[in-house]
Protein backbone atom coordinates (compact mmCIF):
# COMPACT_ATOMS: atom_id res chain seq x y z
CA UNK A 1 0.00 0.00 0.00
CA UNK A 2 1.22 3.46 -0.82
CA UNK A 3 0.05 7.06 -0.90
CA UNK A 4 -0.36 7.08 -4.70
CA UNK A 5 -3.01 4.38 -4.39
CA UNK A 6 -5.09 6.69 -2.19
CA UNK A 7 -4.86 9.33 -4.92
CA UNK A 8 -5.96 6.70 -7.41
CA UNK A 9 -9.07 5.94 -5.32
CA UNK A 10 -9.91 9.62 -5.29
CA UNK A 11 -9.29 9.97 -9.02
CA UNK A 12 -11.50 6.94 -9.73
CA UNK A 13 -14.36 8.47 -7.71
CA UNK A 14 -14.17 11.60 -9.83
CA UNK A 15 -13.76 9.94 -13.22
CA UNK A 16 -16.58 7.44 -12.69
CA UNK A 17 -19.05 10.04 -11.42
CA UNK A 18 -17.96 12.51 -14.11
CA UNK A 19 -18.56 9.89 -16.78
CA UNK A 20 -21.89 8.91 -15.24
CA UNK A 21 -23.38 12.37 -15.31
CA UNK A 22 -22.02 12.99 -18.81
CA UNK A 23 -24.42 10.23 -19.90
CA UNK A 24 -27.22 12.79 -19.50
CA UNK A 25 -25.71 14.98 -22.23
CA UNK A 26 -28.29 15.17 -25.00
CA UNK A 27 -30.89 13.33 -22.90
CA UNK A 28 -31.67 15.77 -20.12
CA UNK A 29 -35.29 16.97 -19.79
CA UNK A 30 -34.41 20.61 -20.49
CA UNK A 31 -31.63 22.62 -22.07
CA UNK A 32 -30.40 23.99 -18.76
CA UNK A 33 -29.71 20.48 -17.48
CA UNK A 34 -28.25 19.43 -20.79
CA UNK A 35 -25.62 22.12 -20.13
CA UNK A 36 -25.38 21.64 -16.39
CA UNK A 37 -24.61 17.92 -16.42
CA UNK A 38 -21.65 17.94 -18.83
CA UNK A 39 -20.45 21.10 -17.09
CA UNK A 40 -20.33 19.40 -13.72
CA UNK A 41 -19.00 16.23 -15.34
CA UNK A 42 -16.10 18.23 -16.77
CA UNK A 43 -15.24 19.59 -13.33
CA UNK A 44 -15.01 16.04 -12.02
CA UNK A 45 -13.06 14.70 -14.97
CA UNK A 46 -10.66 17.64 -14.80
CA UNK A 47 -9.98 16.88 -11.15
CA UNK A 48 -9.53 13.19 -11.97
CA UNK A 49 -6.97 13.97 -14.69
CA UNK A 50 -4.70 15.94 -12.38
CA UNK A 51 -4.98 13.25 -9.70
CA UNK A 52 -4.20 10.42 -12.17
CA UNK A 53 -1.22 12.29 -13.50
CA UNK A 54 0.08 12.85 -9.99
CA UNK A 55 -0.64 9.28 -8.85
CA UNK A 56 1.19 7.93 -11.91
CA UNK A 57 4.24 10.08 -11.17
CA UNK A 58 4.31 9.02 -7.51
CA UNK A 59 3.99 5.37 -8.52
CA UNK A 60 7.05 5.89 -10.69
CA UNK A 61 6.33 3.22 -13.31
CA UNK A 62 5.65 5.64 -16.12
CA UNK A 63 1.89 5.15 -16.20
CA UNK A 64 0.12 8.19 -17.68
CA UNK A 65 -3.35 9.48 -16.86
CA UNK A 66 -4.65 7.69 -19.97
CA UNK A 67 -3.03 4.39 -18.94
CA UNK A 68 -4.68 4.63 -15.54
CA UNK A 69 -8.09 5.62 -16.86
CA UNK A 70 -8.34 3.38 -19.92
CA UNK A 71 -6.21 0.34 -19.26
CA UNK A 72 -7.42 -0.89 -15.88
CA UNK A 73 -10.26 -3.35 -15.56
CA UNK A 74 -13.18 -3.27 -13.20
CA UNK A 75 -11.40 -5.12 -10.39
CA UNK A 76 -8.56 -2.61 -10.51
CA UNK A 77 -10.89 0.35 -10.15
CA UNK A 78 -10.97 1.67 -6.59
CA UNK A 79 -13.94 4.06 -6.65
CA UNK A 80 -16.59 3.94 -3.95
CA UNK A 81 -19.85 2.27 -4.96
CA UNK A 82 -22.01 5.40 -4.73
CA UNK A 83 -20.46 7.02 -7.81
CA UNK A 84 -21.00 4.04 -10.11
CA UNK A 85 -24.72 3.71 -9.36
CA UNK A 86 -26.73 4.05 -12.58
CA UNK A 87 -28.44 7.35 -13.36
CA UNK A 88 -31.96 5.85 -13.21
CA UNK A 89 -34.09 9.02 -13.06
CA UNK A 90 -33.39 12.63 -12.13
CA UNK A 91 -34.04 11.97 -8.47
CA UNK A 92 -31.33 9.28 -8.30
CA UNK A 93 -28.89 11.35 -10.34
CA UNK A 94 -29.30 14.51 -8.29
CA UNK A 95 -29.29 12.79 -4.92
CA UNK A 96 -26.10 10.89 -5.82
CA UNK A 97 -24.49 14.17 -6.93
CA UNK A 98 -25.65 15.93 -3.77
CA UNK A 99 -24.36 13.19 -1.46
CA UNK A 100 -20.98 13.16 -3.19
CA UNK A 101 -20.54 16.94 -3.32
CA UNK A 102 -21.66 17.29 0.31
CA UNK A 103 -18.77 14.98 1.16
CA UNK A 104 -16.15 16.38 -1.22
CA UNK A 105 -16.63 20.07 -0.34
CA UNK A 106 -15.41 19.70 3.28
CA UNK A 107 -12.87 17.12 2.08
CA UNK A 108 -11.23 19.59 -0.31
CA UNK A 109 -11.48 22.42 2.21
CA UNK A 110 -9.48 20.26 4.64
CA UNK A 111 -7.08 19.30 1.84
CA UNK A 112 -6.13 22.96 1.35
CA UNK A 113 -3.62 22.23 4.14
CA UNK A 114 -2.27 19.06 2.52
CA UNK A 115 1.43 18.30 2.77
CA UNK A 116 1.35 17.67 -1.00
CA UNK A 117 1.46 20.74 -3.25
CA UNK A 118 -0.49 19.14 -6.11
CA UNK A 119 -3.26 18.05 -3.73
CA UNK A 120 -3.40 21.62 -2.39
CA UNK A 121 -3.68 22.93 -5.95
CA UNK A 122 -6.49 20.51 -6.83
CA UNK A 123 -8.27 21.30 -3.57
CA UNK A 124 -8.19 25.05 -4.22
CA UNK A 125 -10.17 24.61 -7.43
CA UNK A 126 -12.34 21.69 -6.44
CA UNK A 127 -13.73 23.12 -3.21
CA UNK A 128 -15.19 26.04 -5.16
CA UNK A 129 -16.65 23.71 -7.77
CA UNK A 130 -18.15 21.38 -5.16
CA UNK A 131 -19.91 24.39 -3.59
CA UNK A 132 -22.00 24.90 -6.73
CA UNK A 133 -22.47 21.15 -7.24
CA UNK A 134 -24.04 21.10 -3.76
CA UNK A 135 -26.17 24.10 -4.65
CA UNK A 136 -27.35 22.79 -8.01
CA UNK A 137 -28.03 19.21 -6.93
CA UNK A 138 -29.43 20.38 -3.58
CA UNK A 139 -31.93 22.64 -5.33
CA UNK A 140 -33.15 19.66 -7.34
CA UNK A 141 -33.43 17.48 -4.24
CA UNK A 142 -35.66 20.18 -2.73
CA UNK A 143 -37.63 20.78 -5.92
CA UNK A 144 -38.39 17.09 -6.38
CA UNK A 145 -38.79 16.19 -2.71
CA UNK A 146 -41.19 19.06 -2.10
CA UNK A 147 -42.77 18.77 -5.53
CA UNK A 148 -45.58 16.70 -6.94
CA UNK A 149 -46.74 13.38 -5.58
CA UNK A 150 -44.83 11.66 -8.38
CA UNK A 151 -41.57 13.60 -7.90
CA UNK A 152 -41.66 13.18 -4.12
CA UNK A 153 -42.18 9.43 -4.49
CA UNK A 154 -39.23 9.22 -6.87
CA UNK A 155 -37.06 11.22 -4.48
CA UNK A 156 -38.00 8.90 -1.61
CA UNK A 157 -37.13 5.90 -3.80
CA UNK A 158 -33.74 7.45 -4.54
CA UNK A 159 -33.07 8.00 -0.83
CA UNK A 160 -34.06 4.41 -0.15
CA UNK A 161 -31.82 3.10 -2.94
CA UNK A 162 -28.71 5.19 -2.27
CA UNK A 163 -28.43 5.49 1.49
CA UNK A 164 -26.70 2.10 1.85
CA UNK A 165 -23.77 3.51 -0.15
CA UNK A 166 -23.20 6.52 2.10
CA UNK A 167 -21.11 4.91 4.86
CA UNK A 168 -18.41 3.85 2.42
CA UNK A 169 -17.63 7.52 1.76
CA UNK A 170 -16.32 7.82 5.32
CA UNK A 171 -14.20 4.65 5.25
CA UNK A 172 -10.46 4.92 4.75
CA UNK A 173 -8.62 2.10 2.98
CA UNK A 174 -5.12 1.12 4.11
CA UNK A 175 -3.70 3.35 1.40
CA UNK A 176 -5.92 6.26 2.45
CA UNK A 177 -4.85 5.79 6.07
CA UNK A 178 -1.23 6.06 4.96
CA UNK A 179 -1.97 9.25 3.06
CA UNK A 180 -3.89 10.60 6.05
CA UNK A 181 -1.03 9.80 8.43
CA UNK A 182 1.37 11.59 6.07
CA UNK A 183 -0.87 14.67 6.07
CA UNK A 184 -1.49 14.32 2.33
CA UNK A 185 -5.24 13.64 2.50
CA UNK A 186 -7.89 14.51 5.11
CA UNK A 187 -9.26 11.89 7.49
CA UNK A 188 -12.54 10.75 5.94
CA UNK A 189 -14.31 9.81 9.17
CA UNK A 190 -13.84 13.37 10.48
CA UNK A 191 -16.17 14.75 7.81
CA UNK A 192 -19.29 12.91 8.93
CA UNK A 193 -20.78 15.72 11.05
CA UNK A 194 -20.40 18.31 8.31
CA UNK A 195 -21.95 15.95 5.78
CA UNK A 196 -24.89 15.15 8.05
CA UNK A 197 -25.51 18.87 8.62
CA UNK A 198 -25.53 19.70 4.90
CA UNK A 199 -27.83 16.79 4.13
CA UNK A 200 -30.25 17.40 7.00
CA UNK A 201 -30.61 21.10 6.04
CA UNK A 202 -31.60 20.22 2.50
CA UNK A 203 -33.72 17.22 3.50
CA UNK A 204 -35.70 19.40 5.93
CA UNK A 205 -36.63 21.71 3.05
CA UNK A 206 -37.20 18.77 0.73
CA UNK A 207 -39.56 17.13 3.25
CA UNK A 208 -37.42 14.00 3.18
CA UNK A 209 -36.50 11.70 6.03
CA UNK A 210 -32.91 10.60 6.39
CA UNK A 211 -33.11 6.88 6.95
CA UNK A 212 -30.77 4.99 9.23
CA UNK A 213 -28.95 2.44 7.12
CA UNK A 214 -29.78 -1.09 8.26
CA UNK A 215 -26.54 -2.13 6.63
CA UNK A 216 -23.88 -0.54 4.49
CA UNK A 217 -22.74 -1.76 1.10
CA UNK A 218 -18.98 -1.64 0.76
CA UNK A 219 -16.28 -3.08 -1.45
CA UNK A 220 -15.38 -0.45 -4.04
CA UNK A 221 -11.99 0.29 -2.49
CA UNK A 222 -11.08 -3.39 -2.82
CA UNK A 223 -12.28 -3.51 -6.41
CA UNK A 224 -15.52 -5.36 -5.63
CA UNK A 225 -18.05 -3.52 -7.77
CA UNK A 226 -21.60 -3.73 -8.95
CA UNK A 227 -22.09 -4.86 -12.55
CA UNK A 228 -23.01 -1.27 -13.42
CA UNK A 229 -19.33 -0.29 -13.40
CA UNK A 230 -18.37 -2.88 -16.01
CA UNK A 231 -20.80 -1.41 -18.53
CA UNK A 232 -19.55 2.11 -17.84
CA UNK A 233 -15.91 1.11 -18.30
CA UNK A 234 -16.67 -0.87 -21.45
CA UNK A 235 -18.20 2.19 -23.07
CA UNK A 236 -15.54 4.56 -21.79
CA UNK A 237 -12.55 2.40 -22.73
CA UNK A 238 -13.59 0.78 -26.00
CA UNK A 239 -12.06 3.29 -28.41
CA UNK A 240 -8.79 3.53 -26.52
CA UNK A 241 -8.48 -0.25 -26.36
CA UNK A 242 -9.52 -0.80 -29.97
CA UNK A 243 -6.78 1.56 -31.18
CA UNK A 244 -3.88 1.15 -28.78
CA UNK A 245 -1.48 4.05 -28.86
CA UNK A 246 -3.55 6.02 -31.39
CA UNK A 247 -2.80 9.74 -31.49
CA UNK A 248 -4.47 12.71 -33.10
Amino acid sequence: MAVWEALLELADDHLVLGHRISEWCGHAPMLEEDLAMPNMGLDLIGTARTLYDHAGKLEGKGRSEDDLAYLRDEREYRNCLLVERPNEDFAHTMLRQFYFAAFMRPYWLAALNSADATVRGVAGKAEKEMAYHIRHAGEWVIRLGDGTEESAARMRDAVEALHIYVDELFDSSDAARMAEAAGVLPVRADLRDTWERTVSEVFAEALLEQPKAAYAQRGGREGIHNEALGHLLAEMQVVHRAHPGARW
Binding site: L35, D43, K125, E129
Partner: protein, 164 residues
Protein backbone atom coordinates in the same frame (compact mmCIF):
# COMPACT_ATOMS: atom_id res chain seq x y z
CA UNK B 1 1.07 38.05 -10.31
CA UNK B 2 4.85 37.69 -10.59
CA UNK B 3 6.45 38.90 -13.74
CA UNK B 4 10.19 38.57 -14.07
CA UNK B 5 11.50 41.32 -16.30
CA UNK B 6 14.89 40.06 -17.31
CA UNK B 7 16.57 40.15 -20.69
CA UNK B 8 13.92 39.78 -23.35
CA UNK B 9 11.29 38.64 -20.86
CA UNK B 10 9.35 41.78 -21.61
CA UNK B 11 9.02 40.83 -25.28
CA UNK B 12 8.05 37.30 -24.29
CA UNK B 13 5.39 38.59 -21.90
CA UNK B 14 3.96 40.88 -24.56
CA UNK B 15 3.77 38.08 -27.12
CA UNK B 16 2.08 35.69 -24.69
CA UNK B 17 -0.19 38.28 -23.14
CA UNK B 18 -1.74 39.20 -26.49
CA UNK B 19 -3.18 35.69 -27.03
CA UNK B 20 -7.00 35.85 -27.05
CA UNK B 21 -9.07 33.42 -25.02
CA UNK B 22 -10.40 30.80 -27.49
CA UNK B 23 -13.92 30.82 -26.04
CA UNK B 24 -14.22 34.49 -25.11
CA UNK B 25 -12.03 36.06 -27.82
CA UNK B 26 -12.75 39.66 -26.78
CA UNK B 27 -10.31 39.26 -23.88
CA UNK B 28 -6.71 38.11 -23.78
CA UNK B 29 -5.18 35.54 -21.47
CA UNK B 30 -3.57 38.43 -19.60
CA UNK B 31 -6.90 40.25 -19.20
CA UNK B 32 -8.36 37.10 -17.66
CA UNK B 33 -5.40 36.63 -15.33
CA UNK B 34 -4.79 33.07 -16.52
CA UNK B 35 -1.33 33.95 -17.84
CA UNK B 36 0.51 34.12 -14.51
CA UNK B 37 4.07 34.90 -15.49
CA UNK B 38 6.63 34.57 -18.27
CA UNK B 39 10.26 33.92 -17.52
CA UNK B 40 13.18 33.51 -19.86
CA UNK B 41 15.47 30.74 -18.61
CA UNK B 42 18.58 29.94 -20.66
CA UNK B 43 16.98 31.37 -23.74
CA UNK B 44 13.74 29.42 -23.28
CA UNK B 45 10.56 31.36 -22.61
CA UNK B 46 8.55 29.60 -19.92
CA UNK B 47 4.95 30.73 -19.44
CA UNK B 48 2.90 29.88 -16.36
CA UNK B 49 -0.74 29.28 -17.27
CA UNK B 50 -3.50 28.48 -14.79
CA UNK B 51 -6.79 26.80 -15.68
CA UNK B 52 -10.05 28.57 -14.81
CA UNK B 53 -12.09 25.47 -14.00
CA UNK B 54 -10.70 21.96 -13.34
CA UNK B 55 -12.22 20.60 -16.50
CA UNK B 56 -12.11 23.66 -18.73
CA UNK B 57 -11.76 22.15 -22.22
CA UNK B 58 -10.02 25.29 -23.43
CA UNK B 59 -6.95 24.74 -21.23
CA UNK B 60 -5.01 22.80 -23.84
CA UNK B 61 -5.99 25.19 -26.64
CA UNK B 62 -4.83 28.12 -24.53
CA UNK B 63 -1.52 26.47 -23.70
CA UNK B 64 -0.89 25.63 -27.36
CA UNK B 65 -1.79 29.18 -28.45
CA UNK B 66 0.53 30.75 -25.88
CA UNK B 67 3.33 28.42 -26.89
CA UNK B 68 2.76 29.24 -30.58
CA UNK B 69 2.74 32.98 -29.86
CA UNK B 70 6.07 32.69 -28.04
CA UNK B 71 7.58 30.73 -30.93
CA UNK B 72 6.29 33.31 -33.41
CA UNK B 73 8.08 35.95 -31.34
CA UNK B 74 11.28 33.99 -31.84
CA UNK B 75 11.53 32.13 -28.55
CA UNK B 76 11.98 28.52 -27.70
CA UNK B 77 8.91 28.02 -25.57
CA UNK B 78 7.58 25.85 -22.77
CA UNK B 79 4.33 26.01 -20.79
CA UNK B 80 4.02 25.27 -17.11
CA UNK B 81 0.55 24.55 -15.75
CA UNK B 82 0.12 26.39 -12.46
CA UNK B 83 -2.51 24.95 -10.10
CA UNK B 84 -1.80 26.88 -6.98
CA UNK B 85 -3.01 29.39 -5.96
CA UNK B 86 -6.26 28.65 -7.78
CA UNK B 87 -7.54 31.12 -10.35
CA UNK B 88 -10.27 33.44 -9.22
CA UNK B 89 -12.40 35.84 -11.23
CA UNK B 90 -10.90 38.60 -9.06
CA UNK B 91 -7.81 38.29 -11.25
CA UNK B 92 -9.66 39.59 -14.30
CA UNK B 93 -8.19 43.05 -14.90
CA UNK B 94 -10.24 46.25 -15.01
CA UNK B 95 -9.56 46.44 -18.76
CA UNK B 96 -10.72 42.84 -19.08
CA UNK B 97 -13.96 43.55 -17.22
CA UNK B 98 -14.59 46.53 -19.51
CA UNK B 99 -13.98 44.43 -22.64
CA UNK B 100 -16.35 41.73 -21.38
CA UNK B 101 -19.08 44.29 -20.81
CA UNK B 102 -18.59 45.81 -24.28
CA UNK B 103 -18.83 42.31 -25.73
CA UNK B 104 -22.18 41.77 -24.00
CA UNK B 105 -20.96 39.56 -21.16
CA UNK B 106 -21.64 40.79 -17.64
CA UNK B 107 -18.33 40.69 -15.72
CA UNK B 108 -18.22 38.75 -12.45
CA UNK B 109 -19.55 40.46 -9.35
CA UNK B 110 -16.48 41.38 -7.31
CA UNK B 111 -14.92 39.72 -4.26
CA UNK B 112 -15.56 36.04 -4.79
CA UNK B 113 -13.87 35.40 -1.45
CA UNK B 114 -17.01 36.17 0.48
CA UNK B 115 -18.86 33.01 1.43
CA UNK B 116 -22.49 33.47 0.55
CA UNK B 117 -25.28 31.42 2.00
CA UNK B 118 -25.85 28.08 0.34
CA UNK B 119 -28.56 29.32 -2.03
CA UNK B 120 -27.58 33.00 -2.12
CA UNK B 121 -28.09 34.99 -5.30
CA UNK B 122 -25.92 37.81 -6.63
CA UNK B 123 -26.97 41.08 -8.25
CA UNK B 124 -25.88 41.06 -11.86
CA UNK B 125 -26.09 44.23 -13.95
CA UNK B 126 -27.24 43.98 -17.57
CA UNK B 127 -24.23 44.68 -19.85
CA UNK B 128 -26.52 46.52 -22.28
CA UNK B 129 -28.60 48.91 -20.16
CA UNK B 130 -26.96 48.61 -16.74
CA UNK B 131 -30.16 47.65 -14.94
CA UNK B 132 -29.79 45.26 -12.01
CA UNK B 133 -33.35 44.05 -12.50
CA UNK B 134 -32.11 40.80 -14.05
CA UNK B 135 -32.98 37.15 -13.63
CA UNK B 136 -30.91 33.99 -13.85
CA UNK B 137 -32.18 31.64 -16.54
CA UNK B 138 -29.54 28.95 -16.08
CA UNK B 139 -26.55 28.69 -13.77
CA UNK B 140 -24.77 26.79 -16.53
CA UNK B 141 -24.17 28.54 -19.83
CA UNK B 142 -22.34 28.10 -23.10
CA UNK B 143 -18.98 27.57 -21.38
CA UNK B 144 -17.92 26.38 -17.91
CA UNK B 145 -17.29 29.93 -16.78
CA UNK B 146 -20.64 31.48 -17.75
CA UNK B 147 -24.24 31.51 -16.55
CA UNK B 148 -27.24 32.63 -18.59
CA UNK B 149 -29.28 35.69 -17.55
CA UNK B 150 -32.03 37.93 -18.87
CA UNK B 151 -32.58 41.62 -18.23
CA UNK B 152 -36.10 42.43 -17.08
CA UNK B 153 -35.70 46.12 -18.00
CA UNK B 154 -34.54 45.88 -21.63
CA UNK B 155 -35.34 42.17 -22.20
CA UNK B 156 -31.78 41.45 -23.38
CA UNK B 157 -30.66 37.87 -22.75
CA UNK B 158 -26.97 37.82 -21.81
CA UNK B 159 -24.10 35.73 -20.45
CA UNK B 160 -22.76 36.37 -16.99
CA UNK B 161 -19.13 35.51 -16.27
CA UNK B 162 -19.59 33.56 -13.06
CA UNK B 163 -17.79 34.53 -9.93
CA UNK B 164 -15.46 31.87 -8.57
Amino acid sequence: MTVCWQGSAEAAWEAAAAVPDPEVPCVTVADLGILRWVRVENGVAVAGVTPTYSGCPAVLAIELAVEAALRDAGFEARIERVLSPPWTTDWITEAGREKLRDYGIAPPVKSSGSIRSLFGEVMVACPKCGSTDTEKLSEFGSTACKAHYRCRSCAEPFDYFKCI
